[in-house]
Each structure stands twice: as C-alpha cells, then as structure tokens.
Symmetry: D3
Subunit: 245 residues, 6 copies
Amino acid sequence: MSRIDGRTPEQLRPVTIERGWSKHAEGSVLISFGDTKVFCTASVTEGVPRWRKGSGEGWVTAEYSMLPRSTNTRGDRESVRGKIGGRTHEISRLIGRSLRAVIDYKALGENTIVLDCDVLQADGGTRTAAITGAYVALADAVTWAQHKKIVKHGRKPLTDTVSAISVGIVDGTPLLDLCYEEDVRAETDMNVVCTGDGRFVEVQGTAEATPFDRKELGALLDLATAGCADLTVIQHEALARTLGE
Amino acid sequence: MSRIDGRTPEQLRPVTIERGWSKHAEGSVLISFGDTKVFCTASVTEGVPRWRKGSGEGWVTAEYSMLPRSTNTRGDRESVRGKIGGRTHEISRLIGRSLRAVIDYKALGENTIVLDCDVLQADGGTRTAAITGAYVALADAVTWAQHKKIVKHGRKPLTDTVSAISVGIVDGTPLLDLCYEEDVRAETDMNVVCTGDGRFVEVQGTAEATPFDRKELGALLDLATAGCADLTVIQHEALARTLGE
Amino acid sequence: MSRIDGRTPEQLRPVTIERGWSKHAEGSVLISFGDTKVFCTASVTEGVPRWRKGSGEGWVTAEYSMLPRSTNTRGDRESVRGKIGGRTHEISRLIGRSLRAVIDYKALGENTIVLDCDVLQADGGTRTAAITGAYVALADAVTWAQHKKIVKHGRKPLTDTVSAISVGIVDGTPLLDLCYEEDVRAETDMNVVCTGDGRFVEVQGTAEATPFDRKELGALLDLATAGCADLTVIQHEALARTLGE
Amino acid sequence: MSRIDGRTPEQLRPVTIERGWSKHAEGSVLISFGDTKVFCTASVTEGVPRWRKGSGEGWVTAEYSMLPRSTNTRGDRESVRGKIGGRTHEISRLIGRSLRAVIDYKALGENTIVLDCDVLQADGGTRTAAITGAYVALADAVTWAQHKKIVKHGRKPLTDTVSAISVGIVDGTPLLDLCYEEDVRAETDMNVVCTGDGRFVEVQGTAEATPFDRKELGALLDLATAGCADLTVIQHEALARTLGE
Amino acid sequence: MSRIDGRTPEQLRPVTIERGWSKHAEGSVLISFGDTKVFCTASVTEGVPRWRKGSGEGWVTAEYSMLPRSTNTRGDRESVRGKIGGRTHEISRLIGRSLRAVIDYKALGENTIVLDCDVLQADGGTRTAAITGAYVALADAVTWAQHKKIVKHGRKPLTDTVSAISVGIVDGTPLLDLCYEEDVRAETDMNVVCTGDGRFVEVQGTAEATPFDRKELGALLDLATAGCADLTVIQHEALARTLGE
Amino acid sequence: MSRIDGRTPEQLRPVTIERGWSKHAEGSVLISFGDTKVFCTASVTEGVPRWRKGSGEGWVTAEYSMLPRSTNTRGDRESVRGKIGGRTHEISRLIGRSLRAVIDYKALGENTIVLDCDVLQADGGTRTAAITGAYVALADAVTWAQHKKIVKHGRKPLTDTVSAISVGIVDGTPLLDLCYEEDVRAETDMNVVCTGDGRFVEVQGTAEATPFDRKELGALLDLATAGCADLTVIQHEALARTLGE
C-alpha cells in the first residue's frame, strides 16, 4: 500500500522544530509534523498553586487550543462559546500528564511552568506534535530558570525526554504518524507517549470502527516505539543548536 | 502480596447489577463494583441530532457525573460552578465511544439513546462500572424500542456486548479492578474496554509515577482481558433474569 | 372521589427512610414518598463561610438537583447548560431555610453542614421529600459531629424536628401528598413545612388555575398539619433504629 | 407599639403609581411604596414561545432585577457575574405566576407580554410593589393591544386585578407593608398576592426566626387581605386617570 | 436643513440634571438629553482593588447598562444571556476612562468610586448623557466623602469637569447631539469627551457609511467643542443648586 | 528626542506581510510591525447571518484574540475564564467596522467573510497591525471567491484598501507607530484607520494622562495619515507578489 503522501508505513512526516520563536516566553517552539504546525510556549512563574504551597515542589501544567481556522472549516472560538469543549480539555490534560512524567518536582522547587500549545494549522497529530514540541520549550524554560537561579543547580528538574506519536490501522495496515486524511479513515487510532529510554507514559488506543486484537495492538506499539525514538533524536538535535540560530 | 480487601491480584470486587431501577427510563441499572455504585439510565428519543438527519442512522451518547458527596470529601457541583470539568468531559466521551463500538447505527434507525451515568458512591473504577452498567441499560432500552416498534426487528442494533475494567501496577504487582486506595498508590493505571469476543475498544494506560515497559503493559492487558470476560458473564446473567425480579 | 392510587384524601403515600445509604457522608438517607425517591446526604466541614467567621456560629445550607432522567422525559443537565434554573434555585433555598429553622447556630459552633438532595426518581413532592429526608440526614450528621467532638456536647444543635408535605385542591377536593398526576391537575398547590411541635416554618400556596379563598386555605393547612405530624412520627422511628440495620 | 415611620400596624406606606413613564413600552409604570421605587414596563410582541405555537393562547412572563445601587450597599451586577442569583429567579417567577393568574390566555390570543420590573430604589417590599405596578402596566399594554387590533375585542384578556403586599410579625406584633428595617427584624415574613375579589393567588410565609402558629398566620392574612384591598382601589384610581396626566 | 425636532444643527436637545435621585447612593443623578434618560449613581467604598493596594492612590470605574425596554424593541437582559455584550463593555470602559481623566488619584486616597449608568430610556446619545451625568454624581460623591473625612481636605480629587456629546454628518450636514433617528441615518458618527477647559479626553469618530476627510472632521470637532462647553455650564448650574431642591 | 529603537518620530517599524501562511484559509497573512506579529485569516462561507437573509447582501466580521503568552507576562485564556474581556470585544468590533468600510455588500452577494486576527507576539499596535493584515487576507479571500464563482465578477466587492496605525504623544512629542514601551508612557494615544484615498474610517484618540488640544490632535492626524499612506504602499506590494512566493 502506498500512502497519500508517498511515505512508507513506518515513516514520520518531515519534522521541524524552531526554537526561540517568541521574544517573551522563557521557552518557545514552532513545531511541524508535515502540515501540522503547533506553537508551544513555556511560561515560568515563581510560586505554585495554593494546594501545593509549602511542599517545596513545583508544578507543570498545559493548555491546548486550536485557532479557529487551523482546520479546513472554521470552528467557533471556545472563548466566544463561553466554554471549553471536551476534546480540548482531554488533550490539555494529556499534554500536562505527559510532561509531568519527566519532571522531578523537588528539583524544580516551588515554581510553576505552563505550557501553551496553540495549533496554527492542523493536519492530524496535533496532540502528539504538541507534546513533542512542548518538551523542547520546557527544556529551554528549565535552562532559563537555572540561569536566573530561580531553579537551583544540582539535581536536574528533567529526568528524561518525552515525545509522542500517533499510529493507526488504515485499510488493515498499521501506519505511523497519520495525517488528517488517514486519521479519518483509520479503523483504530492510537496515541503513544514515550520517554527517551523507550518506556511508555501514555498509551491511548481507540477502535474507531472495528475492535482490535492483541496482535494488532502489538504492531501499533512497535511502530510507535520506533517513531518516538526518531523524535527523541530530532529533539536532541534541536536542543543542541544554539538558541537563535 | 495481599490486597487491602483480601482479594487476589486477578480478582474482581463483588459485582451486582440491578435492572429496572427507574420507572421512567427505557433502560436503567444500578451497578456496583464493591463500594462503587453507579446509576445508569438509557433514554430513547425518536430523531437524531441535526447533523445526522436524513442519514437513516441512529446515535448513542453518554453523560457522566458524580454526586457531590459520592466521594470522601464533598466536591462542588459542576452546575453551580457553571462549567463541566475536564475529567467529567473525558469520561463522558469515553463512555459514549465505548458503547457506540457495539452499535449498528443503521439497525438503530434515526433514534437517539442517551446514557446517563451518575456516580452515587465512588471507590475507584467509576468509569469502568459506568460502561459495564450502561451496556445493560442500553440493551434493555433497545429491547424496549423493538417492542414499541420504534426500532425495527430484523438486523440487531447491538453487534456485541461491551464491558470495562481498570488495572494497575501497585508496589510492582499488576492488579485487577483497583479500589480507591489502590488507585491512589498505583504507579501505572490502565482502563480497558473490551467487546464480548475479547477484542479491545479502548486501551488507556497512564504512568502515574514511573513509565512502564512493554512487558508490564502485557501483564496488565492479560489481567484486563480476563476481568472483562468475567464481567461479560455477569452482564449476560443479569440480562437473562426477567426484568423486575 | 377516589384517588388515582386508591388513597383517601388525607392519606400519605407509603414513606420509607433508609439511613446510612452512603459510606462517605456524615449523614445519608434514601427517602421515598411513593415513587418519589430522593437521596439526601449531609456533609460536615469545620469552619464557616467568610462572612460568618469569628461569630462562633455555624451554618447550614442545601443544594437540590434532579438527575436528568428522574422525570418521565429526560431533562438537560444544568451543568451542561452552564446555569442553574430558577426552579432549582428556589427549591435549594427553601430546603436550606427549612432546616436552618431548627438549628441553634451557637450550639453548632463554627461548623458548616451542607445538605445535598438529589432526586433519583420524581413523582410529585420532591421538595417535601427532600426536606423530610434531609432532616434525618442532618440529625445523623449532628450526632456524628458530637461523637467526633467537632460539635460540643451540652446545648443541642437541633431545637426541633422538621418535615414537609404538599397539599392541593384537585377537582374541588383538598388532597394530601400529591403525586405527579394529581399535581398537574391541581387548581391550587401548597407546600407546608412544619416543626415537630406543629408550628409552621414555611407556607407556600399557589393558585395554579383558580384563586383560592380563606376557607380553602384553612382546609389545606389542616391536611398539611396532620400530614407533617405523621411524617414526624416516621422520622422518629427511622432515627430510633440502629444505624446500619 | 409605634412603627419607625409612625404608621399604625395596618397602614400602608404612601403608594404612588405614575403611568406612561416610558415612551417606548406599551405599558409602563413607576410605582413607589414609600421609598421603594420600581419601574415596570410591559412589552407586547406578537407570537408566543415555540412550545405554545398553534395553541391559540398567549403568554405572560416577568423579569425582576435590582439596579446595583438600589440598596444601601452596592451589589454586583448579575450580568457581570454571568449568572442570575436564586433570589432574582425566585421573584421573577413569582411575578410571572401572579400576573398569569388574571390572564385569559385564549382572549389574549397568540401574543406575549413581558413584564420587566427593575428596582430603582429598595426599602423593603420590592416584590410586592413590582407585582402591584406590573398589573397596571399590563392593563395599559392590553388596552394598547386592543386599540392596535393585536388583541381582539370581545372577551377580556384580564379576568380580574391583582396586587400584593408584605406582612410580618415584628416584636410580636403583626404589621402590614414592612419597610427594610422592619423586614430585617421580622420573626415571620409573608408575601400575599390577592385578586381584586379578595381571593389568594400566592401565600408565601417564612419563619425567619421563630416558627409561627395558626393564629399568627390568621392575623397576618387578615392584614394582608385588607392591604391588598386598599391597593386595588389605588390601582383602579391610577387606571381611571387619562394616560399622560 | 431643518432637523426632525426643529433644532438648528448646533443646538443641544433640552438637558435636565436632577441630583439626589437616590437615597442610598453617595451621588446620584437622573440626566436627560431630550428623550434619553440615564440614571447615574456614584458609590464610594473605602479601599481599592488588590492590584492598587498600598499605592496611596484611589480608583474610579464605571458600568453601563440598558434596561431591557429602554429601546423601541425589547432587548434580552445581559444577566439572562449570561454575558455582557461588546457594546456594553466598550461604553463602560469609555465612561470609566473619561472620568478618570479628571481624577487626582493621590488626592482621592485609597478609595474606590463606582459609577453605575443605567439607561432608563434611549433616544440616541446614551453614552454621552451617561458621562455628563456621571460627572455630576461623581462630584457629589467626592463632596460626600470629604464631609465624611474619607477623603482628606486640601488637594482636590477632581482636577476639572468632564462632559461628552455626539456629533455626526447627516445628509452632508454636521449636526450636534444626534437623536436616534438622526444617528441611524448618519454617514459619520463621533463621540467627543471634553474637559471643562475645552481640551479633549476622547475623540471617537466612525465612518458608518462613507469615510470622512480632514475638513469634515474639523467641522465635527468645532460643533462638539461648543456643545461640551454648553454642557459644562449646565453641570455647573446643577451643582450650584442645593442638593434636594 | 531619539526613540528607543532609533526611529525618527514619523517612521514606521519594519513591516512585513507574508501571504498564504495557512493551507486551509481562503486568505491568510502573517503581518509584523516590528516585534508585533499577528496571524490573520479570512474564511469565506456561503450564506449570511439570519437577520440578513434574502437581502442579496453579504457580511464581514472579525474576531481578535491574543495568545496567552503573546505578552511579557502570561495572561489567562478567555476560553478558560469563560468570557471575553472588554478590550477583546472592543478591538474585534473595531476591526470588523474598519473592513466593512471598504466592502460593497451587494457586490459580495450573500456570502460571509470572517477575519480572525490572532496575536502571536505583542509589542504595541496589535490592533493596527491586525487591521492592516486583515485587509490583505480579505483581498486574497475575495479573489479566491471570485475564482470559485462564489462572488460574481463585475462590480468589485472591495471599494478601496484600508490600513491602520497608532500615534501618540510621548514626552510632548508626537510619534508614529508606538512600540509597547512608548505606548505605556504616552500621554495621548490614538488609533487611526484610513482608506487608500487618505480619508478616515476611524479616529480613536484617548488622553491617557493629560487632555490634548486641537493642535496636538492635528499633529497626530498628520503623522497617522502619512503612516497609513506608507502602509497602503506596502499592502499593494504584498498583493502584487504571486501568492506562494
């Protein structure tokens, strides 16, 4: 089977990560997975939410949103509708959990980092691009906070890297990194979040049309694990560049 | 390791399913997984949402909610706060997707069934109890609709049964059907939704503390598959009883 | 005139009060007035709202809600609509006022008790069942708080009991404890809240179709006073049983 | 006992009714009960809410609101808080029910009249002044609609007049038409809505501090009935004047 | 060209300012510009919003609202819709900025004055009437606060007076103080806020139909400056009267 | 006086306009005024809002929003707060009015174009950049609609171009195109929207600290008119490039 855009089943779309995209944010990244473009900023503030005060531990949270015309048909703004939809809530929570999985709260100290992931253009995989980009913005924000002595040197606030990718079964074939057209046609759709050492942080598989069996699940996890390993390399390369280049 | 309540790692809590708990709803069930009690009603209405009109196909959706004192500490009502929280949204969507996985929309015709799952008492596993109970309420509602000729006889609207269970790794041991105290201590937490034939509808695994590897994932899926098979038997037994007994 | 369900005009529907229905709440009751079933929980928290701090006095408040399918036709959830309707507000306020009428704030000390009254099934008289059940839950919560030394022994926080019943004129005949079908047809509808000593806490009479005169009002009050006296006996009997039986 | 403002227990405050206070509304009244001033407008629109279409019957509804500085201390606007409080809901519903009690829906035809009652200055009794004033605005709006042939001549849309007054027990004495200072000190507070023929539309009595007995209730109803009779005369006088004088 | 109401192009509508219209507010005014009537109250509270605490400086803010039937067709209440519309927001902000332009925050001390401007009847120019009336209410509130020693004597909290007027080009002719019918037909519409010394606080011109050039802008500013000068005189006269006359 | 960034008083910041920045939108532009970056998309839909149906005329509207970390300190999302702030409302309305000033509704036919202006990075002048960029996105969307025959050829839907710039008085000197630091210090701040032929669509001047006189107003309008003329040239150059270059 040949894919819409000519990729092999186990091939990622072109991934780009531009750091330092904002002059205000402590960490900022424009990430693209093919035509999916997500703008991720990391904002550091001293102090933590009330329920965590005095614990000596930090906090990391995330908010995801799509610009109204990031999709093919314009969607209403959630601010105009006056409430956040279920999908937005779900993805914001997923991003937050994924990044907290690699945070050492003690090392972070009583500081809060908010990751904002705004989808400028959507073509499938927005939540996985958001997680992958947010990690890089987070890493830059942590570095910034260490330079500013807001976070103490010594123990590292980041215990590992984290990245995410979608996989799915389309016409019976397991595919990596679905674009929108593939996603719509997928029988099964799965988002997998991995740490740099190849372990799982989140596995979310959904049968869109037909329930899947253990063997299919295995094939999808194989693809995803390899995809995340590729993303980990790309994240390292992005972070190795001097900021501003 | 012995569990808090004396169960073996692969043992469900006592499960009870009382059908016909409401005189108004077309299907209604009070389900308990140990001390977790969820009241599930299925409401049938003729017609479908606007975006589906004229398709000849039906729709199934779900809403989940916790009573304010279903938990150990009273929580604010979402109606009073004026908005639905992310967790509620996420679980409502999960229940809806899970039940739609066993619906033949064509056979249902242009009718809508809404599943309301209200947690009366929470002790871990509310979403899995909700899915398991909602399936039974749905089955009763479909039977009611067939009797009333709202749904035509012939093709069956339900293509299989569906049930759900939580699994997790606590102190390094994979456990089935976590109660609240176990859930809080779990390193990894997973909710698995299966059809009666043993395939997966949803697999949602989250590393709460430590990322998990492929082998741990396998052990959890083994437990969950067996647990769902047990629940399927209990669902069949419940539906085999005459309604009102 | 014979009533729909064969009762005499001055007869209550069968009333049942099950205490200890929740393992979490400090007081909890499932009360039924015929097919009307309301789940009442009393939650004790130390401290009072800001405007009452330092007064040495406690506070009691209530929230009423109907499950979406407690009625014959499913209603939208107020949490989904994002606002609480006028009827819900009105009944919540009535329940709160009724219970505060028998509270000695000084004796309660700076503690707050919230009564949650959730209608599981509605067949007329939900607010009166809620008040009558909430009193029993409140009594159990006060006892609990005394055992825990949160409330001091000595002066009693409860100065009397409180119960409530609906009355109405249907086809010219004054009736006690209207079920839904009677309520819909009533020319005049009245809710009466009494203390155990037979005095009034609230009298709310509404002419639904024809204005009523002083004589009709008198007949309704006679019925209601007798009905509340019956409920007071039932409340005492329920509280006399050992909790958990 | 002498009252704060020198009235006898059974005396109304000075009542004024100015008609034609708005050039836009079909009926409009500025009513004052002493220092309580409510601006009431009646707006006629052809057509009825969806649920009433095709019935041949009209609809009457009301909305009550207090200007933020109508009270001694400025209150937040409900539009700014984004939700309507319970008290506002409750009073709006009371006004609507009270006026509907004297409406012949068939004679009104499929037309809707909305009564807006905005409190410009509050000194106790705002809801009773609102009902009493709204009746006059409603009467003018009905006359307007008949002139415009929107409502047909023949059967009268108004079957009687309606007025309302508060009564209460202060320091053991039953008093008519409580001003704010009396209202705050009342042991029992009651709002009574009567038709012109002296029958009751609404009786809402609340024990603020001490439960009340049947005899006290009787004394309050005597006062209220007489007070409403006085208001009925004042309404007739106001309506007898040529509009614009 | 003769205007609808017979005025000359540079003529204001009859302006009346009644002070002391509320017994509760520290300053209160009923202002009319022809048939436009706005009720303005000024509420003084000690203390300032959190972001200003400890600055030694006060704060002045405003809220504008229209009663639902202040216009020819009844509008929905913003409290019922659950949100404030853009136009309301915009005008509230304009009024607040306009009055702050003549406030010496230091002289006011850490006190807050809220101006509420509620439109009772609208016929064009509601925002300009609101600003002009709010100034007078503000002046009375400042005087009250000085008498009460809440604001210290010495430095004056008000540095100048402020008034506002609308101007527009209708059928090619620049006109002062547009009534509703003129406003609807205006090609260009401008609101101008001036201090008593004739300088500008706000100039907001909008081409409703045709863009305007520099010369037209000049003509409009000439008209507005003269109109504001007239209003300044009327404000001084109103404030020169003894309160309560 | 030398400006912070070395510009002369009458000099614009570097302006860049990148067209075709979105693959989904019918028109899309990333515009920058120095460090202010706004992403503008134009979405064409056939049909018009209900109140305009059957008129044969089209509609153009706009929504403005700032990403949470577009500013120096992270702001809460309006979707999370559940309501749109006054400033956002005000600017959205300004952008919509500005673009409608150059639209021939008849020529547009019954089609709607929505302009979304999302601020990615803010450094003063976001609303003027938004208007200037939105015009270019609108022009591309109109061309697209003509190619698709959604808008008929013949009469042109755009009657002129439109651009906007801020001006202000800082330390007594009138300056063009204020950056954030200048804006904060400005005594007077004005936003001016001009058509390509040099006439005014909107003039909004606000005295932030000191009222301004006619002469100062004139100096600001001179600067703004020249600035808009420069922007008009830049818009023409941007539109002259082949899309995609």
